[in-house]
């Protein structure tokens, strides 16, 4: 019996889909059998981030309505035998599925997979409720900005109300140089305010844009800082005790040092 984990945030565009793709690929790379569910019905995205957009035949709504079998709708990843995606429907909306149908679907998938990751849409209404319904655990993604932290706080309250206790926090798009100047909230600030456990911190990184362009999750790229952050997050999720990565300062001096080839 596997575990279902929803990735949610309240605020849009903070990195839910990116996080789902990277943790999914990370868990698959570690040898686990993983299914990703794109629960953002009407705004299908996870398929392109995974580079699987050309393989879609059926979608989540087809399965829920009994129009397609689950095994026919699941798309196998290009890189991993043990990674699958259940795409969102693009031409329907959130009301096409009910929370109870999501619970049934996720329960079925947990029979077959070690991990079922659910990419939640932004917002707090039906799409969010559907995404959360079948989940055993929740990861809340937030960026170090007032609006994002506020929405994350709201989501944490709603998760609690739905009996989804002890969500983990993922801080995304942190910029060490701004933190250093006191112009961006740091990790401690955010933990203090939100009062939940931290799973990891992902730096703001161009590599995310590049990997999204290519449809290859950054976690599979040995070089990038964001990839390293997602590898650490994956390992923590698996119960390993990995210290938080030291955020490199992208100051002019740091850049110069790197250019000269001086490794500190």
């Amino acid at each position: 019996m596997g575990e279902a984990i929803v990735i949610t945030s309240g605020k849009g565009g903070v990195g839910k889909t990116t996080t789902t793709a990277n943790i999914g690929a990370g868990l698959a790379q570690a040898g686990h059998k993983v299914a990703l569910i794109d629960a953002d019905i009407g705004l299908r995205n996870l398929d392109v981030v995974m580079g699987l957009e050309n393989r879609i035949v059926y979608d989540l709504v087809d399965v829920v309505e009994g129009f397609a079998k689950l095994k026919h709708a699941l798309i196998k990843d290009k890189r991993f035998e043990n990674l699958y995606l259940l795409p969102a429907a693009q031409t329907r909306d959130k009301t096409a599925v009910s929370p109870q149908q999501m619970i049934d679907l996720v329960d079925r998938m947990k029979q077959e997979f070690d991990y079922v990751l659910i990419d939640s849409p932004a917002g707090i209404e039906q799409g969010f409720k559907n995404a959360v319904a079948g989940a055993d655990r929740a990861l809340v993604v937030a960026t170090p900005e007032v609006a994002s932290v506020r929405d994350a706080d709201r989501i944490i309250g709603l998760l609690e109300a739905q009996e989804k206790h002890n969500p983990f926090l993922i801080i995304n798009r942190i910029r060490p140089s701004m933190v250093k100047k006191g112009d961006m909230m740091d990790i401690d600030d955010m933990i203090e305010i939100l009062a939940i456990e931290l799973l990891g911190v992902v730096p703001d990184d161009e590599a995310i844009v590049v990997s999204t362009n290519r449809g290859e999750p950054a976690v599979l790229n040995g070089q990038s800082r964001a990839g390293e952050a997602y590898r650490n997050i994956t390992r923590r999720l698996l119960g390993e005790n990995i210290p938080m990565m030291k955020l490199e300062e992208d100051t002019l001096f740091g850049k110069l040092r790197k250019m000269i080839g001086f490794k500190g």
């Binding site: 932290v149 706080d153 250093k180 100047k181 006191g182 600030d189 305010i193």
Partner: protein
Amino acid sequence: MFDLFARVFGRDDASKEVAKDRLRLVLVQDRSSLSPQALEDLKNDLLKVISQYMEIDDQGFKVEFSRNENTTALVANIPIRNVKRKSL
């Protein structure tokens, strides 16, 4: 250079401090689910009760959340015009 200055002297005006203060206040309202309307109702109720005892300048009457150090307080500023004489 400015960096160093900021670190040595600490900046109270650092924008993240502003962000944190604003967040703390807005979260008190969010978490207690006190909408601006509810706060307005609370204010009116307070006004009614206190008016039984004294004459209040209801223009200057203010109720708001305020934070210092680690506590959040509901602070009411109630300018008094006149205290009512107890009628025997």
